[in-house]
């Protein structure tokens, strides 16, 4: 194998280059495919239900008047909310940027229902799930935080933060930490996913709310799962009648069909590009090796007279190619580890496992593809020379 490598340095170097390009393109494509895939799954998660999102049209004068008569407004708001909640599947979700940074990025204070966590299967990596906690030791409000926030807040930390709706300081206790890389579909922006990494989640209990700011948000940010359109129109009408918000529910699944189609087409194109690249690599490698054998014929004749069989020759080629792959993959692993280290010091943070499993998956696929390419390339001389007179086919082209 070493002799073979040494003998055809240039050939193996060009295979190395072609495969390096393939690796780079592959990793770009893989990122794209897994993006399309995840957005597709994001849509599919909510696709089979009719999902309605409120695009709120309330004017600011109307809001002002709600805030002025807040005791009266709270009563009407709760009536509306209870009407929506009765017999319907729904959740509210809203978030505000906190104004300070965590892990170098702004982070958000999010408020949502238990159903949100259930629907998207969001569970903590450490600690307790938000709605499993009824009471914290410190008596403060429980929150779960995304991985970026672990830089600031550890499990069981108690801290005070302003409620953006009331401007009052609230005491929170961290009861759980969410796994890094967890996402949920962005219902206002079809096909996109939002990350939990930059968010802290606090629970929502509309029954217990006694101020108008948060109540308005829990109604304005409603996502309702319903089977008929008229149901939504009733909600909108009730809100008008109660002189509360000017609501307008829109069905999001209409857009998903188009997006699904586009996503699948994109993935098909990627699959074609990958196949074309593999064929190209095989052709370049196979032909180069075959030409090299013919050109360095005397070296091979010496080896053949010394007892080298065609099978062994092809195995030598295979292992030489394999060695090239191993070097390439080790280099790229080292490179990605290095860049991860440089760009993100929390790369070895325990919440990172979800994206590193993606890497393992990716390298497994690329290794298989490379093995496939190696096998085909080394089979080319075997198939061409198998039924032929070894020496003659090598020596000159004769029938």
């Amino acid at each position: 194998m070493l002799n073979e490598l040494r003998l055809n340095k240039k050939v193996y170097f060009s295979v190395f280059i072609v495969e390096a390009v393939l690796l780079a393109l592959f990793s770009a494509l893989f990122a794209e495919v897994s993006y399309t895939n995840s957005t597709l799954s994001a849509i599919e998660e909510i696709d089979d239900t009719n999902v309605y999102v409120n695009f709120d049209c309330t004017l600011s004068e109307q809001l002002d008047s709600l805030f002025e008569n807040d005791t009266e407004s709270i009563k009407r708001g709760k009536e509306l909310y209870n009407y929506v909640a009765k017999g319907r599947t729904k959740y509210s979700y809203w978030d505000y940027p906190v104004g300070t940074l965590a892990n170098g990025k702004p982070f958000f204070q999010a408020t949502t229902d238990k159903y949100f966590f259930d629907l998207y299967g969001i569970k903590v990596a450490v600690g307790q799930n938000l709605y499993d906690v009824t009471e914290t030791k410190s008596g403060s409000i429980p929150v779960v935080v995304g991985a970026d926030l672990t830089e600031k807040y550890q499990l069981h930390d108690v801290f005070e933060m302003e409620d953006p709706n009331t401007g009052k300081g609230v005491k929170y206790e961290v009861v759980g930490i969410l796994p890094k890389g967890t996402t949920y579909p962005a219902v206002y922006n079809i096909g996109m996913k939002n990350s939990v990494d930059d968010k802290m989640f606090r629970p929502l209990d509309v029954e217990a709310l006694n101020e108008i700011g948060n109540l308005v948000m829990s109604i304005a940010s409603l996502v309702v799962f319903a089977n008929n359109e008229t149901d939504l129109r009733k909600i909108e009408q009730l809100s008008k009648d109660l002189n509360f918000l000017d609501m307008s529910f829109e069905k999001i699944s209409d857009n998903t069909v188009i997006f699904l189609q586009e996503g699948k087409e994109t993935m098909q194109i990627y699959a074609l590009i990958i196949i074309a690249l593999i064929i190209l690599a095989v052709l370049i490698g196979g032909i180069a090796i075959y030409i090299a054998i013919k050109k360095k014929l005397n070296v091979y004749i010496v080896q053949i007279t010394a007892g080298l069989s065609l099978k062994k020759l092809c195995l030598n080629i295979f292992f030489a190619l394999f060695a090239v792959n191993v070097v390439l993959i080790i280099l790229s692993l080292a490179f990605s580890a290095l860049s991860a280290l440089l760009s993100d010091t929390s790369a070895f943070n325990s919440y990172y496992f979800s994206s590193s499993t993606l890497n393992v998956y990716y390298y497994a696929i690329i290794s298989l593809v490379f093995l496939f390419i190696d096998a085909i390339i080394s089979l080319i001389p075997y198939l061409k020379l198998r039924n032929a007179d070894l020496l003659n086919i090598l020596r000159s082209e004769n029938g």
Binding site: N3, N298, V299, I301, V302, Q303, I304, T305, A306, G307, L308, S309, L310, K311, K312, D389, L390, L391, N392, E397, N398, G399
Partner: protein, 228 residues
């Protein structure tokens, strides 16, 4: 039959490419070699000497006819078996380019050892010994292309012999050598070819003829006994 190492029966080798060439260097050849014989294949350039050695050495196969090796038809041999025989049964000193030019003497000599079914553990020792026998121990790390013609030929012979083959095939081993080197090479053969070792030398060198028992001449695709 038992003492016949090599038997060709009606062996024909034809090179054919439409409109380009149609050659039959071996035409219905009957030929046999007894164990321990020293044979010279004599003939002018381009007549078919190398072709004959290639067929015998299992580097190429006859177009038609049969080749029996120790009484067994080589057509029944698998590729692996043939490779094994090339490695251990035959010692082939190829015409002109018997060594890989930009490999060291060591790596050249290692080739037959590496391709053995059971790789010897003491390769280095074996290589040293074989070099010592021809007085070229000091060249072990030198690349073949830096050797003199005579040294190169001696190394090529050492390489062919390192697995102690039964049959030695030498293709024009003295062709480009001066008188002194010629003598050395012939002496080498003389020393090796004792007892049961069989040797076939393709040559058109008178000197070599002194060393053999039988001389065959190739002409028009046929083999003729020229002298014993």
């Amino acid at each position: 039959m038992a003492d016949r190492v090599i038997t060709l029966k009606g062996a024909t080798k034809r090179f054919f490419k439409k409109g380009k060439f149609d050659l039959t260097p071996l035409d219905n050849v009957n030929f046999s070699v007894k164990r321990g014989e020293r044979i010279a294949i004599w003939g002018e350039s381009g007549i078919g000497k190398t072709t004959l050695l290639n067929v015998i050495g299992l580097l190429s196969s006859q177009t038609s006819g049969d080749y029996y090796l120790n009484g067994r038809n080589v057509k029944t041999f698998s590729e692996n078996k043939k490779a094994h025989l090339r490695n251990s049964y035959f010692g082939y000193i190829i015409q002109d380019f018997a060594l890989v030019e930009n490999w060291t003497v060591y790596n050249n000599l290692k080739l037959p050892l590496k391709n053995r079914d059971k790789k010897p553990k003491n390769s280095k020792e074996l290589i040293r010994e074989s070099l010592a026998e021809i007085g070229l121990e000091s060249k072990i790390g030198v690349e073949a292309r830096h050797l003199s013609v005579g040294e190169r030929q001696r190394i090529a012979i050492a390489r062919a012999l390192i697995n102690s083959p039964e049959v030695i095939l030498a293709d024009e081993p003295t062709a480009s050598l001066d008188a002194k080197n010629k003598d050395t090479v012939i002496e080498m053969f003389d020393k090796i070819c004792t007892g049961d070792k069989t040797i076939l030398i393709a040559t058109h060198d008178d000197e070599v003829l002194k060393f053999v028992n039988t001389v065959y001449r190739i002409a028009d695709g046929k083999l003729f006994i020229e002298g014993r």
